[in-house]
Symmetry: C2
């Protein structure tokens, strides 16, 4: 027999999962809550709702309809939050443009996504000047100005963002439509080939928002999110919806602080002056803040900080803990909306010494509600949750990109066997914690065995002279590959320590840690800086190429 | 232009919202967590998962398939939790039978829902004996026994529940299917006419679970739910899925305690011995517990208690607060899965005296995520959120019954104008708190004005001699209706106080409270007991009829 589908009374509201539905609760319970840009401009959720209507009216006035694509080029701002809601709520698609890509890559993504209109911060006019003549689908440009512009415009703007909003009606009748409508799109900044477009539906974003709110809300003590929190993103809004947290913060009616471009001094002052209690960033940003003098004099002990994008090293976790920051790992990627797992520390472990807690907080975490996350062998069979057997991390959840835009081959590879392949290698322990050990493509294959470059990085990073480290595999005639640590030194240590010192330090630790072969084979090389991708991740492909 | 639907790569998993998907997280993060029945029997989530497989295999062995209906007649038990998952996960429908209805009503609901199999606790065999010959669709009976039975069985049982599970395979391949498949059905126990069947899909239950977890998790301090909690229901599992909390508790991997039939002494001992920290019940049950001698000597200060089903009086809230119980209101009904709003107290009000807090905790609450809750006039236009203008409460959310089973007229009335009509009268204040003042049919209409019977009940309840009170409207030649308070006295006050004393006490308070006309018109009448429905709600219809 088939299942019985529920009978729907004519007139009963079937309630599609649309982004607009996230606004019901905050408007009901927190209409006067604040949203601030840089601590200067501030307005209420009631005004946010009006701005969403005004932006939709203004875009409609420019000919934008359901199905069109609106591209946004801005730093993290109240305007970006308007767009997170207004554009999808119209039935249009919001393209969040990675402004750190090269102009050629930005051009590629705008043409590939068939953007109809571009909203662009004046800061990016030089990029626009370079690519405008080659844009294939863009018909209109809207200027975003924090201050009146100095020079002539490289394209004909239909107007300035705030002026357009002021002139438009706040009343816009946001329609219901299929919850599988595309809401957002953006491009992964992988280290190989051209950028790949991922895309998310209204349904996916609503479900990601609900599950994230539940996962963070139900944390017993450490890292928990609640309605008295004050939120500030430090992962760009153009990058995987700032990890989806602006949607979560809005649904819960939190005070929100948008910091513009990430300038350490500004970020630290906003934390202090606006009472920020919850943020997220990549390790590089955390490192930048911790070395800034202001961070020594600002109270960071009320600040929860989720780290993702790259692995949180135990050393960095410990540094943050010593400042009183409640630091912990979140895991996900562009393809996964992004959040899959969070390393909330079990209550009974919160009394442990900071060094032990750093280990727990640097784990990749446990899956959020509805996330079916597995570590599997090549046949997609589950591997034991024994805390050491590694395999590929594959996942199912309701918020995974259903493919790459206009790229069926890469899409088929992503979804091979009906599961999304993260490309990460890891293991799961008996408590259900996942630990990523490496990217499949960054694993070092020595004498037929795989080992984790991250594990070696963690060891090298323990030397007090080391500022940053990346371990890559380099060809070796006997072993196939051997590990090489590219190291940047702390300024005060330059000239005080040799490559040999670091190597011996690390080799001894490695040997005592039971991965002895890698201690013998390890090489250390000092470099000025580590190659990174446009979003600040270590670019090991570039590092390997530079070795050739 | 139409919206762009997201492209799905062939092989990409579209992830239907099915009840089985709630199990991924607890099995990953809390496989050894406990579920106990009465503090005696206990097993892990790992075993729960096996039992779900075994139950499905056993039911399949009885010929149960997708689309069939499995009726459950039991008190709150680990077996009921098995059924909450196994039956819908097969694609079948779980009918949760209200065992407090009359045998004739139970017969009606089993025939009306076309139940195929009935799982029945031995305690209800007298009911079964009475109705079995008239059951129209039931083909099989499964016996549930806490202890070996004494007498002969009234029907031929295919076996005993635990024996069937022990003999069945834990491996059952739960298929994917349409998330709009019906998962559960049960009957409202209204005070008018025959019971009406409501029904909920997998999608609806998953979304209710996520939103409830988020709403309770993100409460800043008071009434918040987290993964260290220990859950025990005190609203029956047959009644609106025990308010959906067993699904929430399971998704979060909480320790769960099932108490069987609600016996105050057993409930209190389970709270003490199993460390229960979160429950929910109707006011009557709370009252029963507070008057039980054991409650005086058991520490209840770690216990969060959501009250629903009937209004929480400020007097009862204060009594509970004085015992250290974190008591607060949740709002919903059979038609709404059920939860719509929760009266979490804002952090800044938690330092207020208990009497003030009782007021806040007795409010109807603020809407959960995705709930679009409005108070409207007859034309469905929004009324101001001014804290006093009353109208009907109408609602949209993703988890509302889409009709009444086989009852198009009542369904059309429920969904008139595309919103679900709660039948409740209330107002919303500037902070977004809803306050239900009455049922539409229980409002007292005096001289062309409406007033709230609950408001007058709260005043009368403040007299120290009053044990319980219900206010109804009785016909009056001049005013149309006037309020009459039916009062039960505390045992020690019987004979010590007159109806006149109570009336004067209340009238004075009413006059000072600014609803003076009702003070003059109020009548008080002592009664032995207040009429209640099968689930313990005040039955004002019966009271009014008894006056005629």
């Amino acid at each position: 027999m088939p299942v019985q589908l529920i009978d729907r009374t004519p007139g009963a509201y079937a309630y599609p999962l649309l982004i607009k539905q996230l606004l019901h609760t905050p408007l009901a319970i927190a209409p006067e809550q604040e949203i601030t840009y840089l601590g200067g401009r501030r307005h209420s959720y009631r005004v946010l709702r009006e701005r969403i209507g005004r932006l939709a009216s203004a875009l409609a006035g420019l000919g934008i309809e359901a199905g069109h694509t609106v591209a946004m080029m801005d730093w993290d701002s109240h305007r970006y939050l308007d767009c997170f809601f207004a554009v999808p709520m119209m039935g249009a698609v919001l393209q969040t443009v990675n402004v750190r890509l090269s102009p050629e890559q930005i051009l590629y993504t705008l043409n590939h996504a068939r953007a109809d209109v571009v909203l662009v911060n004046a800061e990016f006019l030089p990029i626009l000047a370079e690519i405008a003549p080659r844009l294939e689908s863009v018909r209109r440009f809207v200027l975003i100005e924090d201050a009146p512009a100095a020079g002539p415009a490289p394209v004909a703007f239909v107007g300035e963002y705030e002026a357009l909003l002021a002139a438009a009606s706040p009343d816009y009748d946001f329609p219901d439509f299929d919850e599988n409508a595309k809401a957002t799109t953006f491009y992964t900044t992988g280290t190989t080939g051209v950028p790949k477009g991922v895309y998310f539906s209204h349904r996916q974003l609503v479900l990601h928002t609900l599950s994230t709110a539940a996962a963070f809300g139900n944390a017993p003590v450490q890292g928990r999110l609640h309605r008295d929190d004050v939120y500030m993103p430090m992962t760009p809004m153009f990058h995987v919806h700032a990890w989806g947290m602006p949607y979560v913060a809005t649904m819960l009616g939190l005070k929100q602080v948008y910091p513009g471009r990430y300038v350490p001094e500004i970020l630290l002052k906003l934390i202090r002056d606006e009472g920020v209690t919850v943020s997220h960033c990549v390790p590089t940003i955390l490192h930048m803040l911790l070395v800034h003098p202001l961070s020594k004099v600002i109270d960071l002990s009320r600040w929860k900080l989720m780290i993702g994008g790259s692995a949180l090293s135990q050393a960095l976790a410990k540094s943050a803990l010593e400042r009183g920051i409640d630091v912990f790992t979140g895991y996900g990627m562009s393809e996964t909306c992004p959040i899959l797992s969070v390393a909330h520390v079990p209550t009974e472990a919160l009394g442990a010494p900071l060094a032990e807690q750093a280990v727990l907080r640097a784990r990749t975490g446990r899956p959020m509600p509805l996330v079916d996350l597995r570590v599997v062998d090549r046949d997609l069979a589950d591997l034991p949750h024994d805390g050491h057997t590694t395999g590929e991390v594959v996942v199912r959840s309701p918020w995974l990109t259903q493919g790459y835009l206009h790229n069926p081959e890469a899409s088929a590879e992503l979804w091979e066997g009906g599961v999304l392949h993260t490309g990460d290698i890891g293991y799961i322990d008996a408590e259900g914690f996942l630990q990523i050990t490496d990217r499949i493509k960054d694993v070092i294959k020595t004498g037929g065995e795989w080992t984790s470059s991250l594990q070696i990085e963690d060891v090298v990073a323990q030397h007090p002279a080391v500022a940053d480290v990346a371990v890559i595999g380099v060809p070796d005639p006997r072993w196939g590959e051997r590990p090489r640590a590219l190291v940047t030194l702390r300024p005060e240590s330059v000239g005080q320590v040799s490559e040999h010192d670091i190597r011996n330090f690390a080799a001894r630790l490695i040997e005592s840690g039971g991965i002895s072969r890698y201690g013998v084979l390890l090489q250390v090389q000092f470099v000025e800086a580590l190659a990174r991708t446009s979003v600040g991740k270590l670019n090991k492909r570039a590092m390997r190429e530079a070795q050739e």
